[in-house]
């Protein structure tokens, strides 16, 4: 028996077991999709029915500005739809990430003076990157309106000029002054607002984040659905292989490669189905990162996340090697999926957790895998993520081989 023959035997076995595994996987995916739809749906519906909470930060000392804000607060058109909160910058960012506010306006110091005397300071509207919803459109409209107020008012200068002339004032001098002031406004900028987006995590929208979370959670639960392939009720074949020169490291590598190929194939099939459904039905997933994505994009994404898949399959391989009984394996895999998925941010965005837990989770294997997938979707893959994924994969495989060797050397 050569390692290649052993690998081909493992693959043949996987093919025979695949119908059952695929059926379990389909049920698993259905459950995950349902959960994902419910989570995203709750975000959207709450987004559309609640009052908008807007923060205001920065220099609010100017009387005109304060008066303007008070006036907007008292307007009937906004009183029942928008709440304004005056906050410090860091506080505003925290509340934005915690979803306590929908966005905030950052008023730079000296903004009003800049407006009156032709400076180029801008009000910045800071928001989460969110799917296009009613509230995000509304915010854009508010920002646009605020901008136009300043620019359109320059037209008033012309009217004033005409009135001045009609009333015998020194039109030329006044005109020069007014026009110089107007040019100072118009040529510097025609908007006084800017919009800055900050993402939920790695710059992703809520939808993109949860798309990654669903994928990682699937890879976690895959350890349970591929139980038929990984669990060995009888390890005597390992002894037979060992006595014929196929040692622990080669055995583990053959088993791992076979399992990884099966996992990648399954993922590719799922991505192909999802990609085809999205492309053919032209359904808007509501996920900004997937807008315009076709079948090719889904499949190439599968290839790009191979390091994360390598890591997760190595983790499952280790669990099945380390634990002796079927029950202990299933329980451990389940706890890993639910517990590990939870603290890594698969169920809630990770910034909901204390900073110390976020940092701890980000260096654990599931956190590393999740980060890799998120960074890939955001097209901001870092070298750290690649190195961490590779290191964990190698570590898990080394541990698996060591446990196999220990068992061989010392087994009763």
């Amino acid at each position: 028996m050569t390692p290649v023959k052993y690998l081909s035997a493992r693959l043949k076995r996987s093919v025979r077991l695949y119908p059952v595994i695929f059926a379990v996987t389909v049920l698993l995916i259905a459950a995950i999709i349902l959960a994902g739809v419910l989570i995203l749906g709750s975000y959207r519906s709450s987004d559309e029915t609640k009052k908008l909470e807007l923060g205001i930060t920065g220099d609010l000392s100017d009387d005109y500005l304060s008066a303007g804000i008070s006036a907007v607060k008292r307007l009937d058109s906004s009183r029942f739809t928008i709440d304004f909160k005056e906050l410090e910058e860091e506080e505003a960012k925290r509340e934005l990430m915690d979803l306590s506010i929908d966005g905030f306006l950052r008023i730079p110091t000296g903004f009003m003076d800049s407006m009156f005397y032709g400076g180029d300071l801008q009000v910045t509207y800071v928001a989460r990157r969110a799917p296009t919803t009613f509230s995000s459109f509304l915010i854009l409209e508010i920002a646009d309106a605020a901008s136009k107020i300043v620019t359109e008012s320059a037209n008033a200068l012309n009217v004033i000029n005409d009135v001045a002339k009609d009333n015998g004032l020194n039109g030329n001098k006044l005109e020069d002054v007014l026009y110089n002031e107007y040019l100072g406004f118009a040529l510097v900028r025609n908007e006084v607002s800017d919009i800055e987006y900050i993402g939920v995590s790695e710059g992703l929208t809520i939808g993109g984040y949860y798309a990654c979370a669903v994928l990682v959670f699937f890879l976690l639960m895959w350890g349970i659905s591929s139980h038929g392939i990984l669990f060995k009720k009888d390890r005597s074949i390992e002894k037979l292989l060992y006595s014929n020169g196929v040692k622990s490291v080669r055995q583990v590598l053959c088993e791992y490669v076979g399992y990884f190929l099966l996992t990648l194939f399954t993922l590719a099939v799922i991505m192909a189905i999802v990609g085809s459904a999205v492309t053919l039905s032209r359904v808007d997933t509501g996920i900004e990162e997937l807008s315009g994505a076709g079948l090719y994009d889904f499949l190439s994404f599968t290839v790009k996340i191979i390091p994360a898949v390598l890591l997760m399959t190595a983790l499952h391989t280790l669990v099945y090697e380390a634990l002796p009984s079927r029950v202990s394996v299933i329980i451990t895999e389940f706890l890993l999926a639910v517990g590990g998925g939870y603290i890594s941010g698969c169920f809630y965005p990770d910034h909901f957790f204390p900073v110390s837990l976020q940092k701890a989770a980000s260096v654990l294997p599931i956190g590393v895998s999740f980060r890799f997938v998120k960074e890939t979707l955001a097209s901001e893959l870092s070298d750290t993520a690649i190195v961490a994924a590779a290191a964990y994969s190698l570590l898990f495989l080394a541990l698996t081989a060591a446990i196999r060797q220990y068992r061989m050397a010392g087994e009763k």
Binding site: M1, K5, Y6, A9, K12, R13, R16, L17, D234, R235, S236, I237, K239, L240, Y242, S243, N244, G245, M408, A409, G410, E411, K412
Partner: protein
């Protein structure tokens, strides 16, 4: 061919399982190991097969230590471990093809060891659907793919029906008649040329006079 097993010592943690175990065997001989549960029979066979590591051991075949030469050992020793070292989801044929080349497999089925074991009767059957006896015969068939001169069998006839036992014993007789040496955790005492009992971490010969109760008292 002359086999000498010398000074096999094995412990698990602080628990000494084998303490200076030694025995000899020659071509054409079938040596049976008997002992109580947990006495170390499987451990001893595993050490000789190169699977389990001992604190110290020598396994000399015509003066050469097979434990220091894995390649030689793999070509000379056939080992059938306890359990079912087969893939349940594959057929007998697919399991055999992991070890045999296609041509050799067909030759052996026609007129060789696989034919002696009667594997041709269930070649297309999935292992998961086989009886215990069929699995054991197939496992032996897989283990001897390299025409070993020394055969180590761990519980070869446990829980087998008479027909299966007959086929296995028939194969073992053929094997030893052709100069092979078989050592096994014995189920069929009458077949063995010699019996060794493993007791109190030591191996010692025992005579079988036809009385099972004598053997039991030796344990």
């Amino acid at each position: 061919m002359e086999l000498k097993v010398r000074n096999v010592n094995k412990k698990y943690g602080r628990n000494v399982i084998l303490d200076g175990v030694s025995f000899d065997a020659v071509s054409g001989e079938c040596v049976g190991l008997i002992g109580g549960n947990g006495s170390g029979k499987s451990t001893l066979l595993g050490i000789l097969a190169g699977v389990t590591r001992a604190e110290s051991a020598e396994f000399l075949c015509d003066g050469e230590d097979l434990l220091k030469n894995p390649k030689k050992r793999a070509s000379v020793v056939g080992y059938v471990p306890q359990g079912v070292p087969l893939f349940d989801e594959l057929s007998a044929r697919d399991n055999l093809l992991l070890w045999y080349g296609r041509k050799k497999m067909e030759e052996e089925l026609e007129d060789g060891v696989l034919g002696l074991l009667g594997i041709g009767e269930f070649l297309r059957v999935k292992v998961g659907s086989m009886s215990g006896g069929m699995k054991k015969r197939l496992a032996i068939g897989c283990a001897v793919y390299n025409d070993p001169k020394i055969l180590l069998l761990d519980e070869p006839s446990a829980a087998l029906d008479l027909i299966c036992k007959e086929k296995i014993l028939s194969y073992l007789k053929n094997f030893t008649d052709n100069g092979g040496v078989a050592t096994h955790d014995v189920g069929e005492i009458e077949f063995c040329d010699r019996l060794l009992v493993l007791k109190d971490r030591q191996l010692s010969p025992v005579e079988y006079g036809g009385s099972v109760s004598e053997l039991v008292s030796a344990l």
